[in-house]
Each structure stands twice: as C-alpha cells, then as structure tokens.
Amino acid sequence: AQTVTQSQPEMSVQEAETVTLSCTYDTSESDYYLFWYKQPPSRQMILVIRQEAYKQQNATENRFSVNFQKAAKSFSLKISDSQLGDAAMYFCAYSRGGSNYKLTFGKGTLLTVNP
C-alpha cells in the first residue's frame, strides 16, 4: 500500500522569507503523481502544485516549487517570499498514474506566517 509521511506537524516562517515543507512517500509503482494541497480555514482543498513521476524537472508555480528526489522518494515544497495568505494546512498527496486514481494524503503540516 502507498503511504505518505509528513514529519513536520507545524512550521512557521517570517513574512517575505522562504520555508520548505517535507514529504516522503512509499510506493512500488513507477507511474504516479505527487501533489501539494493547501487547506485554509475555509476548508477547501486547493491544489498548489503537481509533479509527474516520469518528469525529471521539478515543477514550479510562481512562488511555489518542489524538490522531487525520486530515488529517495522525497517530495518537498518550497515557498518563497512567504505571504500572510500562505498560512494554512499543507497536505502532500500521492496518486497512481492512469485514470483518476484515489489520492492518498499525509497528515499535514500547519504553516504559520508571522508578520
């Protein structure tokens, strides 16, 4: 079974600085996707960034980037120039490749942004 582990229950960062959230996963599949979702107090899960396992290049979306280490099964999220609106729960998630397979989530990291 696939598992996703987030070892940092809480993290904090000063506004405008950079923070990295960690995630490791375990799978025997070769075709899969990895995701970072953000869940603010509004409760809605918002997709932050997605990485396809067969792509060696790390995904980037504006201030958000990932460090995908396939051999180490590590998938960290870097948030640059942190903003107050980045404060939320962040979940790392895994999905097998193919047709709309289920998401397996980690337990989440609560990110606090200090002004």
Partner: protein
Amino acid sequence: DAGVTQSPTHLIKTRGQQVTLRCSPKSGHDTVSWYQQALGQGPQFIFQYYEEEERQRGNFPDRFSGHQFPNYSSELNVNALLLGDSALYLCASSGTGASRASPNHFGNGTRLTVT
C-alpha cells in the same frame, strides 16, 4: 463557472441515525470522489463514482454507500452512525474518466457531528 458545491455545510446527528450528504461537481466534470477528514488528519478516500457506478473504494465499511446521478451529482449515505463518523466530508470532482490524473477540485466540505 461554478466549482464543486456541497450541502449541507454543517450537520448534527445522533448515534444510530442515517445521513445523506450531497455534492454537485464542477461544470464539465464527470467523476466524483468522497473523502473523510477526521480532526487533525489528512483526508481518507471513501469511494469514487464514474458513469453512475462505484469505480474505486477505500477501506470503509458497508455502512458508507453512495450514488451518482445522470447529471453527475452524487450523494454519500452513512447508516447506523457512530461517534467516530464525526468528521469533515469532502467531495472532489475531476473531468473525463479516462484522462491521466485530471486535477481534483474540492468542495468546502460538510462538517458532520455525531452525538
């Protein structure tokens, strides 16, 4: 363009009762997945519906059942409620059942409290 909508927002039920939660997918989406998120945890996959049939199922008892209608909307039914069923129930939709890892769009969830 309406996103994923869930109803009701909050619900309080008594042990042993039955509950129905509803979800309308994002316009253009045909696949609906349901997740249970206990307090302080990541979401857990319950099941997924496509073409009005359950396509995938997580490790949940038969008390959890669902349905998808021809307009792609979906219901989650839970019978014989237990205190442990208290959680946030999230609905996610995605498009074109055969597409590769179509990003899931989530609703704001239904907060179910069982007393």
